[in-house]
Subunit: 398 residues, 2 copies
């Protein structure tokens, strides 16, 4: 009998208890013995099937030598950070879905886990139930990873899908997402790109093996996105998607950011719809590989946590290094990155051509929408000062 604890009984914590109970047989077959939730840390006691396991005293977990793995689903960086440290110090493995904590303190917590000879695993922090961190760090370990990009937030992808399919305005699509339970009452973290930003930081940390400072990563959401640009892009054979993107630059540096992009409709990621997530990884040997599925939700995210729990128990004493150095050097502003840019301006084709030379016109209808040749973000900004810019987005190549 292997005993674990859960800290926090929100959506994911509840899901972990459910998965452990419902898939008891599968889990026992792989572990060789049964897995049981012994203790659940809550702030307020609630009635329900887990009532007798609840405690509001963290020391009940910290000091219990029978508990070998702790699943942290508290969220945020306050109590979650303190309790995670103390669990690792106490020689317990810790598993989490907490993307904010991993993006901000992952490298440091991994180092603590290493010293204590235990694991700190966080597959569920990116892409919910989609296996992505493990394939990236283990299965693609023989590659130099050159780029990772993806649709990392289901709420914004649902909103964009409604805008493309039914021509809904952003505000209406957001209300629809809230009515369906896909968006929070306060949708800020999703809509402003912050949730996707934390995830692209974690992906970049693991892809390049070096710490990314989340504060250095520009995060642009979809709140200011115009339905008009979505429609022009669609007619020209592109889909607008909110991408998190991390790129190894030609000079050896690396960068990361979140922003809406135009994506050619032949790219498989252009067809990722509704609340689905997808992550594309480009390795120098493997080429492009895509991982696709539900990026959130109680059971998908919980099942990724439970798989990490199982891995902690099987990879004894601990899993191999994933390679995440605290070194932050070499990070460059994404404005260095060259891509084609989409512009919609209050002005004529002549205005566009005077600023950018050769351009591809997408529409001329009182305004002018066009694509530039590849230019850096810096040049795009500089040249666009000559223009009356109504909208500007990067185009994903390929």
């Amino acid at each position: 009998m292997i005993q674990i604890a859960i800290m926090g009984l929100g959506t994911v914590g509840t899901g972990v208890a459910k998965v452990v109970a419902e898939n008891r047989r599968q889990i026992e077959r792989k572990l060789g013995e049964p897995l049981e939730v012994k203790t659940i840390l809550v702030r307020r006691f609630k009635d329900g099937p887990c009532r007798q396991l609840m405690t509001d005293n963290f020391e009940k977990i910290e000091k219990d030598g029978d508990i070998r793995v702790v699943v942290e689903t508290i969220g945020g960086v306050g109590a979650a950070y303190e309790y995670t440290r103390r669990c690792l110090e106490a020689g317990k493995h810790v598993v989490t879905a907490n993307k904010q904590l991993v993006a901000e303190h992952g490298c440091e917590l991994l180092e603590l886990a290493r010293r204590k000879n235990v694991n700190y695993l966080f597959e569920a922090s990116v892409g919910g139930g989609i296996p992505i961190l493990h394939p990236l760090t283990q299965c693609m370990a023989a590659n130099r990873i050159d780029e990772v990009y993806g649709i990392l937030n289901g709420t914004t992808n649902y909103i964009l899908t409604r805008m493309v399919r039914t021509g809904a305005f952003f505000s209406d699509a957001l209300r629809e997402a809230q009515a369906k339970g896909y968006a929070e009452a306060d949708p800020t973290a999703d809509v402003q790109g912050i949730d996707a930003g934390r995830k692209i930081c974690i992906l970049a940390d693991l892809a390049f093996g070096q710490q990314i400072d989340p504060d250095a990563v520009p995060m642009e959401g979809i709140a200011k996105l115009s339905l008009r640009d979505v429609k022009i892009a669609k007619r020209a054979g592109y889909r607008v998607k909110l991408l998190g993107r991390a790129v190894r630059l030609p000079g050896g540096g690396r960068t990361a950011y979140v922003a809406p992009h135009l994506i050619p409709e032949e790219n498989p990621i252009a067809n990722v719809e509704d609340v689905f997530n997808a992550v594309m990884v480009r390795g120098n040997a493997t080429g492009e590989v895509m991982f696709y599925g539900r990026g959130a939700g109680e059971l998908p995210t919980a099942s990724a946590c439970v798989a990490d729990v199982m891995e902690c128990l099987q990879a004894s004493p601990r899993r191999e290094e994933i390679g995440w150095s605290p070194e932050t050097g070499g990070f460059e502003d994404p404005l260095e990155l060259k891509t084609r840019h989409y512009f919609r301006i209050e002005g004529s084709l002549t205005d566009a051509a005077m600023a950018f030379g050769q351009v591809e016109v997408l529409s001329e209808d009182g305004e002018t929408a066009f694509l530039t040749e590849p230019v850096s973000g810096l040049d795009a900004e500089r040249q666009s000062r000559l223009l009356n810019v109504l909208a500007c987005m990067r185009v994903l190549e390929g």
Copy 2:
């Protein structure tokens, strides 16, 4: 310095030597020491950069205590089987891309590896460079896997893509694939579904944890597929794809087969084009997750082998069990499986309705093409004896 050997210097073997050399830095960073190919087993000596590493004497590898991991890329089940056994007996880890050997003897070789406390890993045997076996067995370990299906053969998918896109006949599309180097001079194993069949056997073994006898798995290829059916399907909103499919049946049994299917165009797998592969896995907690990329090729496949080599070295002494019992019980004929079926008959709508009751007509043009309600393969066969059937395929639901 860690030393390995390669057996066989065909496409994949050559690729392994290249990846080890080209990505030396990435590999050393993860392993903590350099990785070097010491010996390469060949049948005939060839000139080239690896000339001084070659031997035609297997015992040079078997008896070399410095060689800790052997990559088997000989192919087939003759020498590959014998040498793999002897390497494992000698206490060396073995890594392979050999799908035939794994499908036919995987369970037995894993048992031998277990006894010798070494690893037998074969991520590259399915999906080339796409991480799939590892995510299936580790990252989704907390799920009961209910279904796995996929486009497992790039050659046939290229041919089907040409038939859909340009209306090419099968024979012309095959010649085009051969001219581009995507199809062998003897394309039998690809076109008859045998290659995809071996891969679905391995996926089913790992998804359900029990041995599948490859001889019990019906493998139908695309050689008899008519361009007419591809066109009718396309007009009705379906794509024709060759799928390998393994399903947990409602009664607790399981089945597997390879056959062309009609797939609704909204399903992401319908849009997997050209030589790309994709595998969809359905878990009871995670839902559907898809893995997509290049399923073959020198460097992608080789990089999956090298990642397995790295895992052998890091997961010391050996990786956790993946769960593959030699027990073959519970396998049922895929004819038990209920799905909608596509038929094209020399006959009228009345003929169709008399055989299958309610049907959905796709075309009436001298012949009648229609979709049935869900029926078992057995019933589809039985009822179709009343009809003059020109073509019949299953429809993938969802």
